[in-house]
Symmetry: D3
Subunit: 251 residues, 6 copies
């Protein structure tokens, strides 16, 4: 099975962290194809960054359909473009926020999300509502660490995040922690040991859920609003994103 894990920002060092986290949990027969968005923002820290990041993501998924990907992971905690991607994918597609929250709800009656900047908290809160997690998610906590500082050893990111996770357990009454950024993918195991409770990285969670769905023989439903895009004219600089004329969007 081939799972394409796409980092929608352009920072390839972050893609490496993501790919490592994906491979660490992949089943023996699973091939992880990691991709970095070929265009757009170096990190995604707001609605604007997120909106622009979707184009590179869509291009990678279109390429994935021709390369034979069996499923996709969108490796940014805002789950940008999730439904748009599902329209052009035959196999299952998981966002890492979606994956992490659902997994957390299976192992605890309440969880907290620990994320980066306060200004992105609203994005997580919108996802909590979209996924029906209002009663499971006790709180979204911002550490005010910029995304790219996660890679900077001098930032103290690991310590700051671990402490915020510890506070979340104590103050929010949560039984599990969801890490709110793909750039934290390498921290989950360490923090779990430190705080003695499940800590969920969405990249790993999404890979395992895509494996599960493919194992069930399930792809994205092509009945209803996730059916292939209607054939129509696309023009201008994005004309190459026009859905394929062969009756389906991307095959």
């Amino acid at each position: 099975m081939r799972i394409k894990v796409i980092n929608p920002n352009t920072t390839s060092s972050m893609t490496e962290v993501i790919a490592a986290a994906a491979r660490a949990v992949a089943a023996p027969g699973t091939e992880i194809v990691a991709a970095t968005s070929p265009m757009g923002p170096a990190s995604i820290e707001g609605h604007y960054d997120e909106a622009v990041s979707v184009i590179g993501l869509l291009e990678e998924v279109r390429r994935g359909e021709t390369e034979g990907a069996d499923g996709y992971v969108i490796a940014c905690f805002g789950d940008p473009g999730l439904l748009a991607v599902r329209e052009i994918a035959r196999g299952p597609v998981l966002g890492i926020a979606e994956a992490a929250m659902h997994v957390a709800s299976f192992v605890a009656t309440g969880f907290s999300i620990v994320t980066t900047l306060g200004r992105t908290r609203i994005i997580a809160e919108h996802l909590v509502r979209n996924y029906g997690m209002e009663h499971h998610c006790r709180r979204v906590r911002a550490t005010e660490l910029p995304v790219l500082e996660l890679e900077n050893p001098a930032s103290g990111a690991r310590r700051i995040i671990t402490e915020e996770c510890r506070r979340a357990l104590a103050e929010d009454g949560s039984g599990a922690i969801v890490l709110g950024c793909a750039g934290m993918a390498d921290l989950a195991a360490h923090i779990a040991r430190e705080i003695g409770a499940p800590v969920i990285d969405g990249v790993a969670a999404a890979v395992k859920l895509v494996e599960a769905l493919v194992g069930l023989g399930l792809g994205t439903s092509k009945t209803g609003d996730l059916a292939w895009p209607l054939p129509k004219r696309y023009t201008g600089p994005l004309a190459h994103l026009e859905p394929f004329s062969g009756g389906s969007g991307a095959s």
Copy 2:
């Protein structure tokens, strides 16, 4: 006051319908600047079309900021890119679905939305929830008319939509109708006379709400998650969308 009304699809004949509807209600001192997206889909009928349409929309807003626009209307009923646009706009920004639903809630305790294809109904339903209109919106009704057929006299669109609006009043217990596509902007007055109840076109509604906000001296809040995008590197074909380095995103 200058209000930029942006059609996020590339069909300029639809922009003309939109511009006419906007000008028909604009106050004496209001200048309507209508723009057609320079790229992307000819109509927006799904999550994929919508995601791609955001880029052309953002480019038009960036241009608007340099042209001195006092406010913006996003003239597609899915309100694509609404929060992203707000991040890069100084003045107020209204989506036409948002505008129409709020206005409907001021004149009736319940309304119905009459839209185009069934596959876009889910988009309207998500907006209903995002805007807190679950208790006001009684039902979203699809006519199965493709967007571009609205312009085709042979489609019988006016009659089909009028009949659906009539059924909505009778069956849904609604007191008002929201037209669910920018391409229906020229039908509101006619249908209102036919059915004897308020019929709200989002383009006109959004223009009047932007006028109201500018009249109140209000722009988009630059405190919190709608603040100017953080300065950062954008690369590749979308590098030109990089936020301005002068501390603000688009000025």
Copy 3:
């Protein structure tokens, strides 16, 4: 266009503050007719005050209908009698809490309400739910200033309210402030400058929204539950409030 702005309490000095706020934002062609309730409580600070205040309000609206009012503003933050007024009005009717909250949701993803006494907070919270603003309104904050103290320079009201607004931004993660009393109508501009974020006074907001609705040719729907009251016998001291027998409630 003639907009009747009704202060449902009997304190005419407060009506003057309200009228000034309304006129300050009214468009050139808009005439503001300000009225003070002819009976009932001097201020509205609870469910009982509010219930009694509705009678004077209804009388003023009935008078407005004969005077040719094109729309109405109910200038008390509890929006007393809103749906009852809509039944007897041809034109649009806005409550100031309703207007302020909707406007706030257009310029920020979250807002806080700063109001007077803690005991009226429940009224604001009920309105937040009725208007579908649970996800936009982050918190309702009471200053424990009685309504009539707002007019007393010795009360320090301006300073106290400004500080509460500042705390709201910092602690609630809000991007805008809604002032929770008609008696604060003169403070919005000052506080906005002080805290650097949008501050919304409902009186001004409601006037502009009524202008917008009238500009759209919209009145209150007379289809459904806001139709003219059914003709019937009213007796006793309130017999004069009996709906007109001519088929409509108030014409």
Copy 4:
């Protein structure tokens, strides 16, 4: 124990039906004091009727406080003025819609409301939400019988309502019926026998709940927003409704 049951409309024949229903279930030591509103509409069939009806109701409650009433029932299915009445009452106060819905939720996992005119359905739906009954109330059904026709033997009201109740069980998956008008108080037992499921009249339900609360030694909380109204000046024709100056609102 003395329970004052107030009919907020002015139709004394309806008060008689209400009083009989109340007395039929009252415990041995309970005295039912039935009162008809001294002013206002002959029936309550909309927001406007309801708003006006509150004044007569408040007067009767003020009188009740001096007469030694131990609790109150508001005998109109819209529960007009419920929180206002609670502010000026020492003992417990129940609305009949409130009482009926809560009781229904104790004997079935889902119930339907069968009411009079379609235009009042919105009032019932708002109460359903206020009381947290969204998941218990499966549907509000209108029979289009005007309130005063319930007393007219030629209207066929009993048959029409019984049939609607039967349909409710079959179509809504409900296990119990709530009758949506005080004027139906005499029909509950008959319909229950006919349809073989619990049928709840709010007048009887409210009397028993007030008895229960008084039996528990509970009155309305005077801590928080239901505390006695703040002392203040009331003027004009409603000046006599001014809260008592002795520190409490009505004693």
Copy 5:
């Protein structure tokens, strides 16, 4: 009327406290039959304890049906087995959490629950949602007192709980307190005097609500999902719980 009050744990000294609270409020003609579960946990402090406790409870209800019980009270704040019990009972069944929350909503617009261990708070929170009390219940507060410590004078339970109730009024803006454990049944009157606000013990509340329902002639609906269990084979150690073959579950 005979009301069977069942303590689903096996601690008979707690049953005595419960029985005394029930008898203290019972009407003259009401006989309270108190029962202690014949099996299972000595106290209920988690999902597991609760699940096991249901068997003894069901056995006592089956016995109650043959003994002529007119209604039941489940005297544990988690309301274990509520719907299962309703299936096998002819008369009304109330859980004490259910009873207390509904009663609290009649005397205050907001209440707080003061309970025992933090780990059982989630159970109360689930009930708050099931009963539609999200808007009435302001907060669930844990004292970290184990259930059986409530009977230990050296635990300081009375003082600790009273102080928590006082804080609830001050910090949560609540007008009433719900005691979150059957073992607190004897504290309500004392705490109410101390804090000057309604304090509701669910045992007493449930007894009065069952009396009210029986007084209304209402039993559990046997239409729909609370109908007698379908006849079927039960085997193994719990074979004796097989529903009666005579067409009804337990008669």
Copy 6:
């Protein structure tokens, strides 16, 4: 990895269907241990059946903990005892309703549940709410097939269920189907081919989700309310269910 799949009813032929469905999707290294409840009802078709079924389930989980089970599947669509089981399990525990709904939400924006008897629909509806699936689940449809009839070829179950699934797609606007009974586990693939949309059997879904969680190194959180049961005395016929005294509930 060893996953214990427990059928909480006593019908071993149904366990065989369940076991086959589980093994059909299990990964190479996964051992499926299927167990039939040793006591209680032959099928679960109501709240009472469900409550009683929990005891046998808990016994099988306690045994599973000593046998080295790495995770559990509760193979009844009501997910009986889910949180109780989680308290006494070290590894992850999934209910089949929970698993199926979450999986359905990954492949479609809306799904319908097709279940057995109308009287069990309420159980599914409660789970929909508990799992936050109100916006994803469009409708719960009953076929009125008793559970044990699913095994009877003469019942026409396969055809009846297939037709109901087809109607669900057409009428509910759903993109996927969730089968609402463990006894339907062998029908998913067939129906999916017939209707051309994803059909999800909870048994298979739960097995794959447990595999995913174990693959992520995640067990049930032992922080908070899912921690091991508190040590305490259990007496009577269920004394053997007393939590282990060694500090943990079941090890």
